[in-house]
């Protein structure tokens, strides 16, 4: 950074404002993260409550829930992902334009939650798509969703435009397509995306 933070504050007091392209870019991105209008289970009710007047997600620039993945930036996985629904979720994520973010909301989206033992429940959406923020809870309160949202905003703010750790959408080499699982005989095939979620090795 060309100007250090203290000098910037000092200059700001004198009425001189300096910034960088990176800051402007991240400010723009984090201030208008539009979620996709998409609810899976009971967590969706809390997600809806978050957008309403009492909790008012609009304060963070995220009130516009888009009914199409083409216009959405954020996918809130709000609820249990069944194995029947998982291919649709992954396909929708693929259809979103970059940059795209994912919040896994609630115990089910993280790990299958109370339904983990169920034959038809996916044990965490992070097996197929990269999740930016996980929020535990069953369901998480709207405040928790806002906390996740602010965490995501902080994460966006800290991203650099260049360098090895630049976000995926700025990296021409980075993977753009996430394979959509197909229903197989006993499980979804593939059971996970190794590029996103390395399957734990069971040592007996």
């Amino acid at each position: 950074m060309a100007v250090d933070n203290e000098l910037k504050i000092e200059l700001g007091k004198q009425g001189v404002f300096v910034t960088t392209i990176e800051e402007l870019y991240n400010w723009g991105r984090r201030s208008s993260v539009w979620p996709m209008q998409f609810g899976l289970a009971c967590c969706a009710i809390e997600m809806i409550a978050t957008t309403m007047a009492r909790y008012d997600l609009a304060r963070f620039g995220a009130e516009v829930f888009r009914p199409s993945p083409r216009q959405a930036d954020l996918m809130i996985i709000s609820g249990t992902v069944t194995k029947k629904m998982a291919p649709q979720v992954v396909r929708l994520y693929n259809q979103m334009a970059e940059p795209r973010y994912v919040i896994a909301m609630g115990a089910c989206a993280i790990s299958g939650g109370p339904f983990k033992q169920g034959y038809n429940v996916l044990k965490g959406i992070d097996r197929y798509i990269p999740v930016d923020v996980h929020i535990p809870g069953c369901p998480p309160r709207p405040e928790a969703l806002m906390q996740a949202f602010m965490t995501l905003q902080k994460k966006i703010d800290e991203q650099s435009l260049t360098g090895a750790d630049r976000p995926r959408h700025l990296d021409a080499e980075a993977q753009g397509e996430f394979p959509v699982p197909e229903p197989g005989e006993h499980d979804l095939e593939p059971a996970s995306n190794p590029g996103v979620w390395p399957a734990p090795v069971v040592i007996r």
Binding site: S68, P69, Q88, N94, Q95, E98, L170, A172, G176, E177
Partner: protein
């Protein structure tokens, strides 16, 4: 040309056009410089709530449905014209009444035609 009274309007028009197009151009330029586009088959496929689309959106409907359109028209037009007719009925002259009856008769003819053709029977 400058003396033309509409010259200022032309300048305003160009300014308005620039006002609209400049942000679009800047956004396009920004995306072109910074965002590598990564299209793929899944991303470019038709959005159908996450499901794979089947078939073609350009489906054709059977032309036999024109009969339903005609019957709908008979009752629809009749209702639209009968209501003001009924409201103004007491104040109408003989000529207006007869012309209205002729109009209704024409629509009834259409209904009778449909009836004879056997469309009203639910198959």
């Amino acid at each position: 040309m400058v003396s033309n009274p509409y010259f200022s309007l032309a300048i305003l028009f160009v300014a308005a056009l620039g006002f609209g197009l400049a942000p679009l151009g800047l956004a396009w330029l920004w995306a072109w410089i910074y965002s590598p586009s990564k299209p793929n088959a899944v991303k470019n496929s038709i959005y159908e709530c996450g499901l794979e689309s089947k078939g073609d959106a350009w489906v054709q409907f059977r032309s036999a449905y024109y009969l339903y359109a005609i019957i709908f028209l008979i009752f629809d037009v009749e209702a639209v014209f009968l209501l003001p007719f009924a409201v103004a009925f007491t104040g109408l002259g003989m000529a207006a009444c007869v012309s209205m009856l002729v109009f209704v008769l024409m629509l009834v003819e259409g209904l009778a035609w449909a009836w004879v053709k056997g469309i009203l029977t639910w198959a």
